[in-house]
């Protein structure tokens, strides 16, 4: 199977995720962009694992997935806590502290 284009796809996915985190203002969308970044990482690991005939990448993927799930759980909890106080999940509204 041809896998040489996969890291490139992953790089594009990662960039979309990273740009999304920086430009989007809704906390939920930012969370989704972070998930996109982590999935790009998984894709990179999987393709090179295949290319290099090594297991390390596969094992890394399992840990990344686990961590992503734990992070999403905590992150959504935090967003809900913020939403209850302010009725908004917009990061621009979260501005009590500056400088």
């Amino acid at each position: 199977m041809m896998t040489s284009f996969l890291p490139l796809v992953a790089a594009v996915l990662f960039s979309i995720g990273a740009v999304g985190v920086l430009v989007r203002r809704n906390a939920i969308v930012i969370l989704m962009c972070i998930e996109l970044m982590l999935n790009a990482v998984n894709l990179t690991f999987a393709s090179y694992s295949y290319e290099l005939r090594s297991m390390t990448g596969h094992i890394f993927i399992f840990f990344v997935m686990t961590v992503a799930a734990a992070e999403a759980a905590v992150g959504l909890g935090i967003v809900i806590a913020v939403f209850r106080k302010r009725q908004s999940a917009d990061v621009d509204d979260v501005n009590l502290m500056r400088w």
Binding site: P7, A10, V21, T44, Y48, T56, F60, V67, V94, M97
Partner: protein, 497 residues
């Protein structure tokens, strides 16, 4: 012994503390025990500290063979540096728990989950301190970070705490993504994520591919976030100000030290072969952190925010230790390591002491986290004012305090490694920092009190402040014991077999 059996044997502190954390969680469901959970958590950390300290005695101080130190298929290592930092994390956890006991009552969030989260965060840090593979460092880092996201937002009804948690979480999760992407690029270039194997590949003279350089830069960005180095520091002042003060104390000391252990493992072991590439990066981070941290701290009126900027500046100082480790000579490298370990240990005790005083000012309806809240402290409580005086002088690095010893060793290491210009920047910055530390002292001794509400003094707080004060004065005047201990830890350091 098989690798698994030896691994479990070496992993005793982490295993003990994780089980203890679950035990506390279980215990906190029974109302009868709720009052005891905090004390039990401190006891658990103390027990774990005992297990950590028992390793050198069981093994004999210097008989470690490099190959015996690794466990779990080279994923982790138990060397002197790991033991040293595990001790530091546990001490920081104990002190933070001591100051939390009454503070959580004041905030109205006393619960067992808080203490078990602290235990789990310490487990994460301990895994990081032992990690010799990007995988194990990543897992430890995330265990620590996820616990801290929850702890920072622990005051659910408090808008500032919510906001701090949200900012810390979003930037923390982003930096996690950057870290693993960097790891995947390094894996793609070198076919391994093990730091010692990476070092070996460099010795065989592999060419530096652009992917590898990019991976290294991404890891630098991510670790820069974790230690709050400029320009990746934006989360720190907000997270420090909004978090419960006892959590801030823990976050600014233990989590920073843990991130620096990862820094040392990754840069001084794994990436040693590409030191010419990372040296300028870290030098820029260090100078920017020192300068911007100190100048921004001058402008702050909020004590927690001021200490946050001061901790950014201190991260800049500690980075000098890693820069020194880029020198090829073995003894220069050891000097860098010694200065870094000393500084982080000392900084832990100073900063925990300073934040304990902020906790003392949090009473009834007063937030007590502004600099002016320290006004008249000398008049109302001379002992407390003296303790705060020592902490402030120590942070500024005035002789006869522990902070001076730390700064002196970093300065000497930088000079020895021919980074005189970095040493000069550091000294100039220390002069600037003296202004804002001494402003607090001026408020305490020269201004009249601004309120008459009683200070929130509790036995736990007094014990924590007493320990930090004693440490600062003793190490400041008789530093030999601590230096000897640190030196021995470095001699136990495992080298690539």
């Amino acid at each position: 012994m098989s690798d698994l059996a030896q691994g479990l044997y070496f992993l005793r502190p982490e295993l003990l503390l994780s089980f203890y954390g679950f035990f506390l969680l279980l215990l906190s469901t029974l109302p009868v025990f709720r009052r005891w959970v905090g004390g039990l958590a401190a006891l658990g950390c103390l027990l774990t500290l005992g297990v950590v300290l028992s390793f050198p005695y069981q093994q004999g101080m210097n008989v470690f063979q490099a190959s015996d130190l690794f466990f779990f298929g080279n994923l982790m290592i138990l060397d002197g540096m790991a033991l040293f930092f595990k001790g530091a994390f546990l001490l920081a956890a104990i002190l933070s728990i001591l100051i939390s006991l009454r503070y959580l009552d004041t905030e109205g969030v006393q619960s067992g989950e808080y203490y078990s989260l602290i235990c789990f965060a310490v487990v994460g840090m301990m895994i990081m301190a032992s990690g010799t593979d990007l995988l194990s460092i990543f897992v430890g880092l995330e265990l620590m970070a996820i616990c801290f996201y929850i702890l920072v937002g622990y005051l659910r009804g408090n808008r500032k705490s919510n906001e701090a948690a949200m900012k810390y979480f979003l930037l923390g999760a982003f930096s996690t993504g950057v870290f693993v992407y960097g790891a995947s690029l390094i894996y793609s270039a070198k076919g391994t994520t093990n730091l010692y194997q990476l070092a070996a590949r460099f010795e065989q003279g592999d060419p530096h591919s652009p992917l590898l350089i990019l991976g290294m830069i991404l890891l630098t960005v991510s670790l820069g976030f974790k230690v709050a180095a400029v320009p990746f520091h934006m989360w720190a002042p907000d997270a420090y100000e909004g978090a419960p003060t006892a959590v801030t104390a823990f976050l600014s000391t233990a989590s920073k030290a843990a991130a620096f252990v990862a820094f040392v493992r990754i840069y001084a072991v794994g990436f040693l072969g590409m030191r010419d590439q990372w040296l300028p990066l870290l030098a820029v981070l260090s100078v920017a952190s020192m300068t911007l941290g100190n100048t921004s701290a001058l402008l702050q009126d909020n004590m927690k925010r001021m200490l946050a900027y001061s901790s950014i500046a201190h991260a800049g100082y500690v980075l000098i230790g890693i820069i020194v480790m880029s020198r090829p000579e073995v003894d220069t490298m050891q000097t860098g390591m010694l200065s870094l370990m000393l500084y982080l240990m000392i900084y832990t005790f100073i900063n925990l002491g300073a934040f304990s005083m902020v906790v003392m000012l949090r009473r009834e309806n007063l937030a007590g986290d502004r600099v002016v809240d320290f006004s008249g402290l000398h008049q109302r409580s001379p002992m407390a004012a003296f303790a705060m005086l020592v902490f402030m002088l120590s942070l500024a690095g005035i002789p006869a305090t522990a902070g001076f010893i730390g700064k002196y060793y970093l300065f000497a290491a930088a000079m020895k490694a021919h980074f005189a210009w970095l040493a000069v920047v550091m000294v100039l910055n220390s002069v600037v920092s003296a202004f804002y530390y001494l402003r607090v002292v001026w408020h305490m001794y020269q201004k009249p009190p601004v309120d008459s509400v009683r200070y929130a003094v509790s036995p736990g707080l007094v014990a924590a402040v007493g320990i930090c004060l004693a440490f600062n004065l003793l190490v400041g005047i008789f530093p030999e014991t601590l230096i000897e201990l640190t030196r021995r830890s470095i001699l136990m350091l495992g080298r690539a077999g």
